[in-house]
């Protein structure tokens, strides 16, 4: 446990030193405040509209950003140590591969979690202070759910980054693979699902399609944040399938946690198998 903490401590202080944490927090904060006040500008409306609309917009944004930031933060976690010449030295210490990976996950996770809390949390505080008559209870529960699920989504993609980093032989390959994973889950998957819907013209069992959303952690994440705001789910492409999904919020959380557990286990396996 002590070794895990030692590695986590190094990763976390690296995140502070290279200003990753500051950059992510600021980015989230500026975007969140901007979306809260100007999210509806396209429809000619300026100013805070509603909590569900804000969360829906923020969740759409975070669906793109969280995976990208997590992948960028950790794609070189293993292969970068090897290219930098420190991996072999680390592995000669009384430190198992599993401890090294867990420590990195903990350190990167803390950076991501704290930056998400500070960035999006500041927007929640701004709304609470500046918007009159806002329901603080609803605001708090919506933002807590949003921040926790965003962090969890980020952790899933951190785990993906470790898988890629453990399997790649060069840092540039890991970066390319990371972009590929991002494209697959954030852009391609939903488009593919929509294409299937259109092409099959309902020939696929309608009960099956909503379950396919669970094959993408970013879709589960959006479902978690749209749950409770029934109106928000309308008109959001594949999200409209979710109304046929016989699953509660707890089950969706469990699915996202299961994604994390499986990908993290895969990362441990990939690192254990890595020659070096």
């Amino acid at each position: 446990m002590k070794q895990i903490f030692n590695i986590a401590r190094k990763e976390f202080s690296d995140g502070l030193r290279n200003r990753w944490m500051l950059a992510i927090s600021l980015l989230f904060s500026v975007l969140a405040v901007g979306i809260a006040w100007f999210g509806a500008a396209a429809s000619g409306q300026v100013g805070f509209t509603s909590i569900p609309a804000t969360i829906a917009s923020l969740a759409s944004l975070a669906t793109f950003l969280m995976p990208l930031i997590a992948l960028l933060l950790a794609y070189d976690a293993i292969v970068g140590e090897e290219e930098g010449g420190t991996l072999m030295l680390l592995l000669t210490y009384p430190l198992s591969r599993s401890q090294l990976l867990t420590g990195k996950f903990l350190g990167h996770g803390m950076i991501l979690g704290l930056a998400t809390l500070l960035g999006f949390g500041s927007a929640a505080v701004a709304i609470a202070v500046l918007v009159p008559d806002v329901s603080l209870g609803l605001l708090a529960s919506a933002f807590i759910r949003f921040i926790l699920s965003s962090t969890l989504l980020g952790l899933v993609f951190l785990a993906f980054a470790y898988v890629l980093s453990s399997r790649a032989t060069e840092k540039s390959t890991a970066a390319g693979l990371a972009l590929g994973v991002w494209f697959l889950f954030v852009l391609v998957f939903d488009l593919a699902l929509l294409t299937i819907l259109v092409v099959t013209e309902g020939r696929i069992s309608p009960e099956l399609l909503p379950w396919l959303l669970l094959l993408n952690p970013t879709d589960i994440y959006r479902l978690i944040n749209l749950a409770g705001f029934e109106a928000g789910a309308q008109g959001l492409g594949v999200m409209s399938l979710a109304s046929d999904l016989p699953m509660g919020l707890t089950a969706l959380w469990a699915c996202l946690l299961a994604w994390l557990a499986v990908i993290l286990a895969w990362a441990h396996l990939a690192f254990a198998k890595r020659v070096g």
Binding site: N18, G85, T86, M88, L89, Y93, P94, L95
Partner: protein, 304 residues
């Protein structure tokens, strides 16, 4: 006495490729052992086995009375890799502190080690500003964290100036006197020759020879070179002479079979030369002999 490292018929395969063949040797407490061989001879694989980075495909390997990959064993091993690299963003001090925490070494040792390797002043500089020699010295300090019982150094003198090299060798002797066992891999054979207690020569994944320099010389039977001055043109009836060559300034060099060297020296002294030097085969001569021999002959053994 229990061996610090003991290899007994160790084999190593990478897929279908066998890179180590039945390697057996041992290292005792307080011994300095040179591990020599051409590139690809199996030195690095041997080191990786001892460090627990890989496990042997066959045979027995015992390190500090346990398994090489055991955390308690690793805690007692210091390792200085060839061309050591550190995190460029950390200072020298932060680097040592990080590795001290991982080793479970006392933090108080960090400042002492920085001083020992002459990096106290540079301790607050980031490692990316370090020269190769400074990085190497920081690497040495890192390897000494936690007072290891076994120190493994791969090409430790690369990047070090002659003074730093000499202090490294003196440090090795000091550590030996404290009971630390040392394995040193180096291609700078003349440098390490006077400091090692034992040499292991490997070629093509096989152990060619293991023993102290005296044993290696006895076994190889290479000629001893005796240089004399002031006897030029004189008829010398000496036993076991392979060749006699004239050098410069009145010096001549005789290549003498090892078993005849004492008698030859004794007879030469009777001729009252102006000067005389005896040059036994150097570590480099022995290394070349065993490595070249490996191409034609299999394992030679002066096993200890």
């Amino acid at each position: 006495m229990t061996a610090v490292v003991e290899l007994n018929k160790v084999n190593q395969h990478y897929g279908k490729l066998q890179v180590l063949h039945e390697i057996s040797w041992s290292l005792q407490p307080g011994e300095i052992m040179g591990l020599f061989g051409h590139n690809g001879a199996g030195k690095t694989t041997s080191i990786r086995l001892i460090l627990g980075l890989i496990r042997p495909s066959g045979g027995e390997l015992n390190v500090l009375g346990g398994q090489a990959h055991d955390a308690r064993v690793r805690q007692q091993i210091g390792f200085l890799p060839e061309n050591i690299m550190f995190y460029p963003q950390l200072t020298g001090l932060e680097t040592l502190q990080h590795f001290a925490r991982l080793k479970g070494a006392p933090m108080s040792q960090v400042a002492d080690l920085l001083e020992q390797v002459g990096l106290t002043a540079a301790g607050s500089q980031r490692v990316k500003a370090y020269s190769k020699g400074m990085r190497q010295r920081l690497g040495l300090a890192q390897a000494l964290l936690g007072d290891p019982r076994l120190l493994i150094m791969d090409e430790p003198t690369v990047g070090l100036d002659p003074i730093a090299t000499q202090s490294l060798y003196r440090l090795m002797e000091q550590l030996r006197s404290q009971g630390t066992s040392i394995i040193i891999c180096s291609h700078v054979l003349p440098g390490v020759e006077s400091y090692i207690d034992k040499a292991v020569v490997m070629a093509r994944g096989r152990l060619e020879v293991v023993g102290d320099l005296y044993q290696l010389r006895e076994h190889a039977g290479l000629p001893v070179r005796i240089r004399v001055r002031g006897l030029e043109g004189r008829e010398l009836a000496l036993p076991g002479i392979d060749s006699r060559n004239t050098l410069h300034d009145g010096w001549e060099e005789l290549a003498v079979r090892p078993q005849s060297r004492l008698e030859v020296v004794s007879r030469l002294l009777q001729e009252q030369p102006q000067d005389l030097e005896v040059r036994p085969p150097s570590l480099e001569d022995l290394y070349c002999y065993y490595t070249e021999k490996a191409g034609a002959v299999g394992v030679a053994g002066v096993q200890q």
